[in-house]
Symmetry: C2
Subunit: 437 residues, 2 copies
């Protein structure tokens, strides 16, 4: 059957309810501590793009996504093509975004510092527009986004405490409030601080930084200190199959799941068949194209969804439905983010009955004053965030804060996330290597 011509709505189709009148894409930067990972270390500033979609009637919707310059250019291009599209017709919004990328070779703009490079270009660009359009719909209709996603099934969303190996501070700067964590004792101390402040009831350790046995020892130290606490480790795919199986056996009695021990579907499938531990991923199943081969190979048990690369909240619902249908469990992945993304993650998790684990968030690593939304709505208490019930995402843009964080973007000089180059500027001998161990 024929679809709409790209030129506009066909005669006879419903008149657009909220045609998009303008799209603003504002790059911002916010301070980020020196968190270590398999590809290097977080730079002093994390980048994000704030997407503001204006629709007729003076309503606007908010989206947030990666701030890499290649991604910004794509957002600008897609935004131009969206003018006139109905914010209520998400199918058409998706078609326009796809159209804007027809001649795009897909280079760069992944926003993950090289850790995840196989996400869908279209879904990555679509995401912030999908979120912003749902925000508009919710505001126009007077319902929270969770309702547009099928209805809230919980009134609060659990998050895990996300532990990182880290330096005391960025080289040349004062130590930050979190201090150094470079061994099991440092990680345990960090966990105590996290839990004291936010009440987390699950913990995740970003691994892939030190030799696997040292990281396993950190997990075992957490287990000893916090009996019964669900624990996870994520070496970001830098272990060999052999190492992953050895670590898997060692950590079987301790872990809730093992996240991305290896990089490929085939390698994780080999690990999975050898250990008695669920394997989670946000690296080898990162687009709808990855689902058929991963399911066929029985490679993973848990998909860490991330609306930033799964095409937004609408398509993340589809992912959740596929997970339920194919007996995959669901949790949620996080990159460094601000409050718009946090609100979107929370609305999605609120409406997704099969989110089976506490979700990841980098929220505690951000300074409270570094945000583009008015404060007070999103607070982690007892390890959970109450789901906003105001119309749309439930958060409001703070124009002054947006201007401040945009100035910070201009001042910091960063144009894309590059943990590796930053690490090499401090430790020239650092080499990118996967698998590393």
């Amino acid at each position: 059957m024929s679809e709409h011509s790209s030129a506009g709505l066909l005669p006879g189709t419903n008149a657009p309810r909220s045609p998009i009148t303008a799209v603003q894409v504002v790059p911002v930067a916010f301070a980020d501590p020196p968190l270590l990972n398999s590809v290097g270390v977080h730079e002093p500033f994390a980048l994000r793009a704030i997407v503001i979609v204006h629709a007729s009637g003076g309503v606007h919707g908010l989206g947030e996504t990666y701030g890499d310059s290649a991604h910004l250019a794509r957002l600008e291009r897609a935004g131009k093509l969206l003018i006139g599209t109905d914010a209520f017709n998400l199918n058409q919004v998706a078609a326009r975004v796809e159209q804007s990328l027809v001649d795009d070779a897909g280079t760069g703009g992944h926003g993950t510092g090289g850790m995840v490079t196989t996400t869908s270009l279209t879904d990555r660009v679509l995401s912030a527009f999908d979120v912003a359009c749902l925000d508009i719909q919710g505001k126009v209709l007077g319902v929270p986004v969770s309702t547009l996603l099928g209805g809230a099934v919980r009134d609060a969303v659990d998050f895990s405490g996300y532990l990182f190996y880290k330096w005391a501070g960025h080289p040349g700067a004062e130590p930050d409030a979190w201090g150094e964590a470079l061994d099991p004792a440092g990680i345990v101390a960090q966990a105590h601080r996290m839990i004291d402040r936010y009440g987390f009831t699950a913990l995740k350790l970003k691994g892939g930084v030190f030799v696997p046995d040292q990281e396993a020892a950190a997990i075992e130290a957490l287990r000893a200190e916090f009996p019964g606490m669900p624990l996870r480790i994520d070496p970001n795919g830098v272990w060999t199959v052999e190492t992953a199986i050895r670590m898997g056996h060692r950590l079987e009695p301790v872990l809730e799941y093992l996240e991305d021990p290896c990089l490929s579907i085939a390698d994780n499938a080999a690990v999975r068949s050898a250990i008695n531990l669920p394997i989670a991923t946000n690296m080898c199943v990162v687009s709808f194209n990855d689902l058929p081969p991963a399911i066929e190979a029985h490679a993973v048990d848990v998909v860490l969804s991330d609306h930033h690369f799964w095409g937004g909240l609408s398509r993340s619902r589809l992912l959740a439905g596929i997970a339920r249908t194919f007996d995959l469990r669901l949790s949620m992945h996080s990159n460094s983010h601000l409050g718009i993304s946090f609100a979107a993650m929370i609305q999605l998790a609120a409406a997704t009955s099969n989110i089976d684990y506490a979700c990841d968030t980098h929220w505690p690593w951000k300074r409270a004053e570094d945000d583009v939304i008015r404060p007070g709505v999103l607070e982690i208490r007892d390890g959970a965030v109450k789901v906003p019930t105001a119309p749309g995402l439930g958060v409001e843009l703070d124009e002054q804060a947006l201007a401040r964080l945009h100035q910070q973007y201009l001042d910091c000089g960063l144009k894309k996330r590059d943990d590796t180059s930053y690490m090499q500027s401090i430790h020239p001998e650092f080499e990118l290597k996967s698998p590393r161990w």
Copy 2:
């Protein structure tokens, strides 16, 4: 994470927008011609249940589903449990319906005369409530249901002309307007009448009635008469693998797809691997549980979706997303239905970009005056129906017509669809047999 208690919304959750205040389930009957199929012949009346969901503020939503008595009892039970549930929280509506079926052994109520008996009990009962709640949402928000399903991608939906072998009339009654069709010439004549009246641009023949070669000859006669017209045949799974492969080879140059040649996933997979023709199904993939094994076996190419047994429109969207992800094509199945179901099918197809074929409908076999909706909205012209753009489903209940068709239900004495017993009352030698050839 914890979900809502079944007792109601938790403190802090958004106040229900449109709490359900009452549910009416009204069985109706409408005249049906003696259409032949693999399990017997259509009885003089087809049964349906009209589901009217009332919500606060005086708004109501419409659903339509099977009228078998076992199904009616389940609808009544689910309806009672839905009182107080927010018509905007489809997740909670689904949870309540599931709860109403906890102690249900699942016997009977399939509504398909024994042709499809493995659909999901929950999804079958949920469907009409999902549709009715979307109708409510659309009316409250002032948007058509297609918008709630992601936005219309077309302004008209194509349907196929659904040809049946049939007697001239029910035994003891006057011949109906369509006349007899018991051989290729009769089918070609029927096709001419269908196309003259409705302008169909694709044709489907319900087979499984006569020896396969005779039915193949009817398809070949259609091909000769209507060059270029997409053609399908559906023997409802009564062919052996051997027969299906033989017929498949014979009809390879002629068919658009071959529908349910055999009954099981394994048998259809065996046929599929031997012929060069897409296989479609609404018999071996009829619930989300069937998708993983069917995909693993590469059993079918096309899933004929049917919101009446796939859990309504919301879950049919999920089916469409799964189809796209796993490279299955999508079309739409039909049982004898009235205008509420037709409107729901049209709203769904309007919002589903990957409906790849003209959808099935029994609409032409119903007398125009036999309906529960006000006439004039849904008309097949040039083989397509314009998508209603009024709020909700876009159709209105005709209370007088509802009362008339309910009286017809009471008067006709039928309590469930049973094509087999009716056939045996006329031809006592008729035996249910699958495979038959």
